[in-house]
Amino acid sequence: MFKVGSKLFLGLTGFAALTLVAYLIFVERLALGGVALSVVFAVLVGLSAVIIMINDGDSEVQPRDVSLVRASMWPLVTVVGFVLLILGLVVAQVYFIFGIVVVLAALTEWLVQAWSESASDDAAHNESARRRLLHPIEFPVIATLGLGVIIFAFSRIMLAISKSAGAVAFIVLSSLVLLVGAIVALRPALKSALVSGICVAGAVGIVVGGIAGQGAGLRTELAEAAAEGHFLHRECGEEKSKYFDKKAMKTISLRTNPVAIVELRGGVLSAIMTGFNEPQKIVSVPRGNPVTFIFRNFDDAERRMVASLGTAMAAGAETSTEKEGHSDSNETCTQLIPQGAEQALTVTYAKPSIAQEDPLTLTVPGVTGQAIEVVVP
């Protein structure tokens, strides 16, 4: 009753059980490994059961033509998968997971192939049965893998080289693709071996490039930007900060219903508020609520608006305190903007005015004697 296939699977199941036990006894440092091995074990138990139940895929047609059985790479791939799996136990989790995926995929392929070969006495029909079952998953998986490799490798290359070289590399690569395509199209007589050769060379090239790129790591500006948070430095003084003020926005898309529009015109700061017919010097703002001011600069110098948030701030209530270089955490500001430009500033005042030592204000560095008082009742 146990045929070759059943025996193999029973053996594998036993092996998995042993590995699991051994793993749990000796390694036990990686909880995930235990779970994964249990899953493998369970899957193998299931597969063995299936294989035994269907009697290795055949109960009636016992003697089969040898020609029906085709050469198969799946036993080999399964072994590779197991090697990866075991390697993963020792080296790194990622190999382990990859090994599991490979083993499962190979076993599925193997199982289906074995099943299809016993389906009938017609080899072509058997092959079409196999295709019908497996092509729907083989096609997309192979396509996705190929695509993933190209995309990943290419993006690693781009990340490693400098900005201008990146654009050039991009052009060169795509021109190459076009060029090769054109040559192949124009010369129908080209040997297919040569075409395949070019394709393989291209594939190898991009993979090698990708690995090299991954090895080289990010280009220096990017690495610095990631480490220092260039665009998070909001230094609210009169001076430009190096990254934060680079190319400030001139207009904003947010124009509807701000709490107040603060205008700097002729050295005078005033707040225009819906419902008040005159420009105001005092803005009343609900406590604990994000409110938006719009700052419009009509001065001919580049200006920014600074909002003081008061000394009594709720811990962690403001967002702009993460990175280093923030000496004053109790103020926030817009970017420096040129004449005629506008910027929005969203602020939350957590504590009422009566809790503050100094009045809450909106000011513009470089413009003295002008402030809008913010009252938080």
């Binding site: 396509a143 695509l147 991009f170 795509s174 693709v177 990631a226 665009f231 680079k246 926005m249 898309s253």
Partner: protein, 197 residues
Amino acid sequence: MADTATHEAHVTSTGLSNVKLGMWLFLGSECLLFGGLISTYMLYRGRVSNGPTPEQIYDIPFTSVSSFVLLMSSLTMVLAVAAAHKKDDRGTNLWLTVTALLGATFVGGQVYEFTAFYNEGLGFTTSLFGSSFYTLTGFHGVHVTVGIIMLMALVAINKRSRVPGSKSETVEMIGLYWHFVDIVWIIIFTLVYLIPV
């Protein structure tokens, strides 16, 4: 992907094949999808309560190059459709492959761009600009990726079929999709990258 076989033989009332008409309608629907996403981006692009602003991180020369690459892929798609009409399976497969490769290059460029922006401090959850930028361009990238997978599947199916040119209808349909995705990118490139905030 579509049930062509049964009705191919029929003379349709409009003269367009069902598949092609269906694809046109689908693309009409897609216009509204991208319309919604682009509107969201346009509303939110200036809202940077945290992290970098668009002007600070956009790399226009690079994006121009990648836009150009995507446009070239439209050209190769046209060549593929032409080859399919001539029942030239070799040419069809070749140009479909080239189109897919150019598309993959574009998506690779997008992955690079996203990684670079992330390193510069613009995450998906950093600001409204970040959320809407990644959503819009990500949706477009997914469309390109789906297109590439369709192209590759088409090549595989083409190789299986024994009748030359039997899939020319499908090539044309996927061609429509591909051109649409390109056109959407031109709009995105103009509105998102080029027009200053």
